[in-house]
């Protein structure tokens, strides 16, 4: 039991890490990036390619991957999201959906159907574990992933609340027109936010490849887990994302304990329950109107 909880917390750290970029994008730019999972897998292939062909460790590969993805995030905002946002709120989401299809199929065309892993390039670490009292073993990769999630989410939170650029990003997220009147370059702030959100995906890519395998179409499931963690934790709160990841993993573990096939269902149930709880109990105009439509409020 204790072992299962410990493993679930570690898994939750992974979910929080892959949710980080998605949560950041949603909270500060109000965009659900449906290409998030595909970008995650793209990063995984990049690290795998460096390892396979140049024997470069994924940790070293990150030094190149994170800036490259940040650049891609900047371009995504400037050339796709900014333009599509003029067509309404929904269009940027559809744009990222299209992008994910393009990326998935390009990856499949390039790398085929073989599953890949980064485990061969990190030596002993791939299977090493720490022993905790009570005969509990937790994998080193898992611990590192959890630490990375905490550092990344905490770092982003500090960045948003204590730096000038972070404040400019928050102001732009709330009201881009007024941000301009105050002297903030709203286009620049949005592009920086997008660069950070997509750049952070690189670290999650490393975690994805180190703990398991992936193939060209692995992005969809990763997107789903990231999205569920983000929503359970409360969209707009980065620390909430960490909690959301852990809650999701605990629910999945509980589901698996009930029935061998219950792993995914447990997670989805937790996600739906949280949505319903918000709907029923959260104060606010929007949820109140929903309750009225459903006949649950006067």
């Amino acid at each position: 039991m204790l072992n299962q909880i410990a493993q679930a917390v570690i898994l939750g750290g992974y979910y929080a890490l892959i949710a980080c970029g998605l949560s950041f994008m949603l909270s500060v730019m109000r965009v659900i990036n449906l290409a998030h999972g595909s970008l995650l897998v793209l990063g995984g292939y990049f690290l795998w390619y460096l390892g396979e062909h140049y024997e470069i460790s994924p940790f070293v590969g990150l030094v190149a991957l994170v800036p490259l993805l940040a650049l891609a995030g900047w371009a995504l905002q400037r050339f796709l999201l900014e333009r599509s946002a003029r067509g309404g709120e929904l269009l940027p989401i559809l744009t990222t959906f299209g992008l994910s299809i393009v990326l998935d199929n390009l990856l499949f065309e390039q790398f085929g159907a073989d599953t890949r892993s980064l485990a061969p390039y990190i030596g002993d670490m791939a299977w090493d574990s720490y022993e905790l009292p009570g005969d509990i073993f937790i994998g080193k990769v898992g611990v590192l992933t959890l630490v990375a999630a905490i550092v990344l989410l905490g770092g982003l939170q500090l960045f948003l609340s204590h730096t000038g650029t972070g404040k400019a990003i928050r102001a732009t997220a709330e009201d881009p027109d007024t941000a301009g009147i105050v002297g903030i370059d709203a286009r620049k702030a949005s592009a920086i936010a997008s660069a950070i959100a997509v750049g952070s995906i690189g670290i999650a890519s490393a975690a994805l490849g180190m703990r398991a395998t992936f193939d060209a179409y692995a992005g969809g499931a990763q997107l789903l887990f990231a999205f569920e963690a983000t929503i359970i934790g409360g969209a707009g709160s980065l620390w909430g994302t960490l909690i959301g990841g852990i809650v999701l993993a605990l629910a999945q573990t509980a589901g698996a304990a009930v029935h061998p096939q219950g792993f995914l269902i447990g997670g989805h149930l937790a996600f739906i329950l949280v949505l319903f709880a918000r709907f029923l109990f959260l104060p606010g105009e929007f949820t109140y109107r929903l309750r009225r439509i459903a006949g649950l409020a006067k």
Binding site: R170, G183, A186
Partner: protein
């Protein structure tokens, strides 16, 4: 010395011309009051000067440079700032953070968060409060402070007394008087004629998108402004006893 010069400015919303070939000059250190009925084009003119709206035609020169094509944030960098109607604060951020946002342009100057707090002492205890929880007066003070933090050469106030109780308006204007002594150039839109006449040195009346009166406050009278406000011909006395003093 002319600080701001507007030449034949036209601003349109679709087919509607909100501002029609307005030309005027504002000298450094002047305090100008823009007066006019709702829909006269005052707010539109101010927002166009701040870069929030693009003019259809005409030019805006600031410190002898053409700023017509500059975006809002670039104009703030060059020294123009707007205190918008309805305050428009970032409600999820604290008072201090809202003020710091103004300082991000790094123009260099005397204004600091502490100095803002010294002219608006009522904000000190609300320093770490989210601006969404502030009273109207505190919000207005924060909005003015945020604009001052950009160290502007010219500041546009849009309806600073709108939606505030008379007592709070007194307070805001008392703080403003301190500010005006510092020599900053001010253009303010004010519905309250009495207040506008006490702080401003010059009155500009707008009617249906055009300037119908532009005169030093000392050389004009309440009646003359009232006539311009309603678009009545001079000499045609308005005897309806309409008190503009409490128009809002």
């Amino acid at each position: 010395m002319t600080l701001l010069s507007i030449e034949n400015l036209d601003v349109r919303y679709g087919q509607f011309k909100a501002v029609r070939s307005v030309s005027l000059k504002v000298g450094a250190g002047e305090v100008v009051a823009m007066i006019g009925a709702n829909g006269a084009g005052k707010t539109t003119l101010l927002r166009t000067l701040a870069g929030a709206i693009r003019p259809a035609d005409g030019r805006i020169l600031f410190k002898d440079k053409d700023v017509t094509a500059l975006s809002a944030h670039e104009r703030v960098k060059s020294g123009m700032v707007l205190v918008p109607e309805g305050r428009r604060l970032f409600s999820r951020m604290t008072v201090e953070e809202n003020l710091q946002l103004g300082g991000l342009v790094k123009r260099g100057g005397d204004w600091s968060v502490d100095r803002i707090f010294s002219i608006f002492p009522n904000l000190v205890k609300r320093r770490h409060a989210k601006t969404g929880t502030l009273s109207g007066g505190e919000q207005q003070a924060t909005a003015i402070g945020r604009a001052l933090m950009t160290n502007p050469d010219i500041i546009f106030f849009d309806e600073i007394s709108l939606g505030l109780s008379p007592l709070v308006v007194d307070h805001v204007y008392a703080s403003l008087a301190e500010l005006l002594k510092s020599g900053v150039t001010v253009v303010l839109v004010e519905q309250d004629l009495k207040r506008a006449m006490t702080v401003a040195g010059r009155a500009i009346c707008m009617l249906e998108g055009q300037v119908v009166l532009d005169r030093a406050m000392a050389e004009t009278s309440r009646d003359e402004i009232t006539e311009a406000y309603f678009g009545l011909k001079r000499g045609q006395k308005n005897d309806h006893g309409l008190g503009l003093g409490g128009a809002h």
